[in-house]
Symmetry: C2
Subunit: 390 residues, 2 copies
């Protein structure tokens, strides 16, 4: 059995089938009773769900020790009733956990525009939280799934330091919209401000650099709880670096698991942009390449189509890209050198691209900044999943 | 026979099969010997082809009277030879037309990374321009096609004023990248500056508001020649309005023909955004909706999925959208009122969406600005056309 969040000291989690979904696990808790800090990063979609507003405020209060997650119903576009139902869920859970409502984060994912069945939620919470000291992190990872085809979990350690996480997401979800969620735990003792800054930095290079279809949901969130068992000296560069590396590895691992499970995806695409003038420029170009429908379909066909890569690099506005400097590689094969087509064996390269992970490397030769973005190919499976023919 | 560009006084055009393509018309001229002004709008892609650089400079010189277009080879990513071949094409054509090379615009579309076969081009130009006073606008429209499934042409008039155009484009094109081209002619006599401003304004609301797959090419251009037959008083508001209306109608007609011919498209999607704070906000939201893969697949399935519309509206950064104010309509049916789901007959609405054109209307109730964007649905046909399985 792989290690997961409940293998981190001081972290409890489990899940039940409450009946919000027709079948399967759908109500989850993660409880960190001695949490010393909790950080959060949230969707920027203007139509954010009431759970986002509640949880953002809970994180800002700085005393969060638990999160209740339900799948099957996103409680989004549900008006005043939706807001009241979040508050009610937090109040009931807080009472059962011996906390205050402003210590309980809430996260919902699933269908939108439908009210939560609060009788089911209330009964479910009483069952779920009757004895909230389970170590069923694997079940929690399953309970947050919607159209995911597999649960997503990881565990990293370095000496005493531990960082683990669970996540869900596989593109936006039928019949309406869905969500990318990440719940991360660590055993370190750090300040709230330190954890928030470290999480933002890690999310920015991982969850924010993946894309299945450019669409973002109303309910995306990544939370991180620190259980406080291992003191971390925030002024010790080595310790801080070790922790940040673990946190980034954890976020990257989960982010890539999400992309691999992208709707209809058959291949992971990793786009590295090197030697840009700024990191922002590198990121925008990497995302443009990984998001281009023409690049995604080319990779689906194992086609080393450098013309489409150039097009996707060149269409990013406000860069200082100089065509005559650009190199492009697929896997380890150079296909464009200094803006001119290189000689390569197209058939053999295509063969090398018929694999799980295709890497595209773009060197701009402009500066020293770099970035990586991850995405997936665009297939008929995506069309099937998202068309929901009426 | 529908009227086209050569039904405008003073405009000549035709096409031949020169052999650049394996078969079919591939070399085109449009000649306006008495042209008083010529305007142009060009791709912003950093990797622009040498014909773009040449033609931008020709337009800036202010004496352009002809354009030579070839299909089958984009002459892009062709280095110094590519630049020389554009100059050579212009020089040969100019001599045959009795012009200077800086009076001849050049446009190329087709495969990239391959040198133009200059012997074929040179022989072709001598045949094409032996007697350059043909009125074969329809043939010109066919000669600029690449993966287009039909030629695109239109003609508008109002009293004495005439505006007509031809265009090509159907998404980006296999095996590499391709191009949207528009060539417009009018019989008015106006200044270069007036025509340039009017064309920019029209393109901004039409060609710039269509999208098949968000990918933009290295060679996109729209040119407009004024043949000078009918004087237009640039200080007469009524005359100016009439002309601008014709020009916009012509650009919109061609732009919509391009979207309808989008790769694999089965439906046109027209997204209107009303009552935004600024036109820029309205445009960005309309384009976000029309470009969303989840919206495009929903429309393919005739699914009145307002959740995906909200998601695509909400994900645009830097707007002041207030969820509780937003109305959404599919065709004539209100599906969201003031941010809350409306009651509607889903089955009957789905039936009404199983048509050629689906309209989506978003009312933000924030200000007075509006915009329309056009796109097409995302189908397995798009995947087939662009995957080119190796």
């Amino acid at each position: 059995m792989n290690k997961t969040i409940t293998d981190v000291a001081g972290v409890y989690a489990s899940s039940i089938a409450s009946g919000i979904k027709a079948e399967g696990l759908d109500l989850v808790y993660i409880f960190v009773p001695e949490a010393v800090a909790a950080a959060g990063v949230f969707t920027k979609n203007a139509f954010c769900a009431p759970c986002i507003i509640h949880t953002r405020s809970v994180i800002n209060e700085g005393k969060c020790k638990a999160v209740i997650i339900n799948s099957g119903n996103a409680n989004a576009v549900t008006g005043e009733s939706g807001v009241r139902n979040v508050a009610k869920t937090a109040t009931i859970a807080a009472e059962l956990l011996g906390l205050q409502p402003d210590q309980v984060a809430i996260s919902s994912t699933g269908i939108i525009g439908k009210q939560l069945p609060m009788d089911i939620v209330e009964a479910g919470l009483h069952t779920l939280l009757a004895e909230p000291r389970h170590r069923d992190g694997g079940q929690a990872a399953t309970g947050i799934m919607t159209t995911d085809t597999c649960s997503k979990t990881c565990f990293y350690e370095d000496g005493d330091l531990q960082v683990a996480g669970i996540a869900k997401g596989s593109g936006m979800i039928a019949p309406n919209m869905a969500t990318m969620l990440g719940f991360i735990v660590t055993n370190v003792s750090v300040s709230q401000d330190f954890l928030q800054a470290a999480l933002l930095e890690a999310v920015d290079k991982t969850f924010n650099m993946i894309s299945v279809d450019t669409d973002t949901s109303t309910s995306d969130m990544v939370l991180c709880f620190a259980s406080g068992a291992v003191p971390l000296d925030e002024t010790n560069v080595d310790q801080v670096d070790s922790f940040k590396r673990l946190l980034r590895n954890c976020c990257q691992d989960l982010a890539i698991q999400i992309v691999r499970d992208g709707e209809g995806a058959s291949r992971l695409i990793a786009v590295q942009v090197h030697n840009a003038q700024t990191e922002s420029e590198a990121k925008r170009i990497a995302l443009s390449v990984v998001n281009s429908p023409l690049v995604k379909t080319a990779i689906h066909g194992a086609d080393p189509n450098w013309g489409r890569i150039l097009m996707a690099v060149g269409k990013v506005e406000g860069t200082l890209v100089q065509p005559e400097l650009v190199d492009v590689r697929f896997q380890d094969t150079q296909v464009l050198i200094a803006g001119a087509p290189a000689e390569f064996d197209r058939k053999s390269l295509a063969e090398q691209m018929r694999v799980d992970t295709v890497s595209i490397t773009v060197d701009l030769h402009l500066g020293e900044a770099s970035a990586t973005a991850w995405g997936c190919d665009l297939t008929k499976g995506y069309i099937d999943i998202n068309t929901c023919y009426n």
